[in-house]
């Protein structure tokens, strides 16, 4: 068993990964600023000059409705973290729970049912699934998040299932069974903590997927219903760019790219740190 310190030192020596972590933390601080009511509060105020150039008044200029693009793109950081955190944590938790149960009762009807469910969800084209969920929920604002959580867990579920099947035959688990601990206790106390590295990596991968998906869904009209997000800003900008106004497009796409790049670099470094064999290949 390698110690946690060992992982940290490998992570610390990965310069790209550290840069990614710094980017993600900076964005998170921006989100905290918005939550605390310090930043981006003027995101919806209209009435300024339409398509004003960047200046002291509006740092990145204004959009079609005269709204301040800087305020909007900063407020969208909060939207991104709210969607990303809720979807990545809940879908990973769901995947961990279902994957652990399937792996523990491997090759039984429980396992078969979980695998079947994952197979079914993976077989439905995602955007259509969201449309169907939005249809069933009749325009409730949570349709997007529910659809993402309901489908994103399958990858985590398969990984955790495979890991639990391996862990099940290890001595510490056999000993726990031998002294008669209940299954649920062994799973939660001894087995799942040993899959934490998988869960951490999956959280960071699904965070990226959630934010990218939000952009497409908001453009399709299935995403963020109230508030503002980079996806909504990009959707607005599709009209503006044809008239030669690029500020909205640039602000949203650069912020979006920076956060995604930060997360991608960080999750790469996580994978390298936890799985040096894969990294060395």
């Amino acid at each position: 068993m390698v110690s946690d310190l060992h992982y940290w030192s490998r992570l610390k020596n990965n310069r790209a990964g550290l840069a990614g972590l710094i980017i993600v933390v900076s964005f998170f601080l921006l989100a905290v600023g918005v939550w605390a009511g310090l930043l981006g509060q003027g995101w919806s105020a209209a009435g300024g000059e339409r398509w004003a150039p960047p200046g002291a008044e509006a740092w990145f200029g204004t959009n079609l409705l005269g709204q301040d693009i800087f305020q909007r793109s900063v407020f969208s950081v909060r939207t991104a973290f709210e969607i990303g955190l809720i979807v990545s944590i809940l879908s990973t938790a769901l995947g961990a729970a279902l994957g652990a149960i399937a792996g523990w009762y491997g090759k039984s009807w429980v396992d078969g049912t979980v695998l079947w469910l994952a197979g079914v969800l993976d077989s439905i084209p995602f955007y259509l699934f969201v449309a169907a969920v939005a249809f069933a929920l009749q325009g409730k604002p949570w349709a997007m998040q529910i659809a993402m959580i309901a489908t994103f867990w399958t990858a985590t579920g398969r990984l955790v299932r495979a890991e639990v099947m391996k862990l099940k035959t290890r001595e510490f688990v056999l000993s726990a069974r031998a002294i008669g601990l209940p299954d649920l206790l062994i799973l939660s106390r001894h087995v799942l903590p040993n899959t934490l590295h998988i869960l951490l990596i999956q959280i960071s991968i699904t965070f990226v997927a959630a934010i990218k998906t939000e952009v497409i869904l908001s453009f399709l009209g299935l995403g963020v219903q109230d508030g503002v997000s980079w996806g909504l800003m990009l959707a607005e900008s599709t009209q503006e760019v044809l008239a030669g106004h690029f500020n909205n497009f640039l602000a949203a796409s650069i912020m979006l790219f920076a956060l995604l790049m930060g997360f991608n670099l960080f999750s790469d470094a996580l994978q390298d740190a936890f799985d040096p064999k894969q990294a060395a290949l």
């Binding site: 077989s123 439905i124 169907a132 249809f135 599709t238 044809l242 796409s253």
Partner: protein, 312 residues
């Protein structure tokens, strides 16, 4: 034979699951269609009649059964918004989508494989690092951003202004190239980051195996090793990725590209059906694409056996 039967049985179970999910979401829990069909001021008898036609008075199992029979017999009904038969809409739009998506899909995979091989050949040298770095960059750019950027760059006076901003008036090869170029470029750019990274990982793993070391020891040239040993032994993951991304690219990709460029393919139809809540169209598309995906999965299993004799 036993293997084939197992696969078919599992495929059948998946189809049942997928249709069950789409039926539950879109018909059982979906919005009540009664008033969309007969308007607000209908008499009680009219309402009862329409509800009976729609099958609302039937139990869940009966309605699900009818949904399945309709799908199997391609009895898909008519669109709520245009009144056109869903079957004829599909027949008209699917060829457009295929013509639109196939070049980008194939190019994106071939380029990904080529770059993956190059990175493997030059592993840990600057060219490998460049390719890996560009892949991560590509993975961090949103599909929508790529489309907007390319449209401005290629199709407007703010850029090169060489291609049409939107539309699809294809009559011959020249007009086809005129309309397909920008969508193809966006597809390639968006898929290349993920593809290159995936194929590189596959090739690098294969190149680390013992049989490659043996081939090197026998003095085989790098090209022979990459082509005959690495690429050929990586056929299973390549085929898996290729086949499994078909539904993703064709449905999700065309949804965005066609609605953005105003191209009358299946993606545009889906987009319009989503925004207007056109239930018969959505039902047909979700049901049929899911079934198609499962058929692809089954087909993939058979292709494995053709390319890799180790798979029993």
């Amino acid at each position: 034979m036993h293997y084939a039967l197992n696969k078919l049985a599992y495929g059948g179970l998946l189809i049942l699951g997928v249709t069950l999910v789409s039926f539950s979401l879109m018909v059982w829990f979906g919005p009540d269609q009664t008033y969309t069909l007969i308007g607000k001021n209908a008499s009680a008898e009219q309402i009862a009649e329409v509800r009976q036609q729609l099958g609302y008075d039937q139990p869940f199992a009966m309605r699900y059964g009818r949904f399945l029979v309709d799908l199997v017999t391609l009895n898909l009904g008519a669109s709520n918004s245009s009144g056109e038969q869903v079957y004829s809409i599909l027949k008209k739009t699917i060829p457009v989508t295929l013509a639109l998506m196939i070049p980008g899909f194939i190019l994106g995979n071939l380029l990904g494989i080529a770059l993956g091989l190059l990175a493997t050949y030059k592993k840990d040298q600057w060219i490998d690092r460049l390719i890996t770095g560009l892949s991560v960059t590509g993975m961090s750019i949103s599909f929508l951003v790529v489309i907007i950027f390319l449209q401005v760059l290629m199709c407007t006076p703010y850029g090169l202004n060489l291609f049409p901003v939107r539309g699809w008036q294809v009559t011959d090869l020249a007009s086809y190239l005129h309309y397909v170029t920008v969508p193809t470029l966006s597809l390639v750019i968006i898929a290349l980051g993920y593809n290159t990274r995936f194929y590189r990982a596959v090739f690098v793993e294969e190149a680390g195996k013992d049989h490659i070391r043996t081939a090197k020891a026998y003095g085989a040239s790098p090209v022979t090793i990459l082509w005959r040993h690495v690429l050929k032994n990586s056929m299973v993951p390549i085929i898996t990725r290729f086949m499994f991304s078909i539904p993703l690219i064709v449905i999700s990709g065309s949804l965005l590209i066609e609605s953005y460029f105003g191209i009358p393919g299946i993606g545009k139809v889906t987009f319009d059906a989503i925004t207007s809540g056109d239930q018969p169209v959505l039902k047909a598309i979700v049901g049929l694409t899911a079934v198609a995906f499962i058929l692809i999965q089954i087909a993939t299993d058979f292709i494995y056996k053709l390319v890799d004799p180790r798979i029993a």
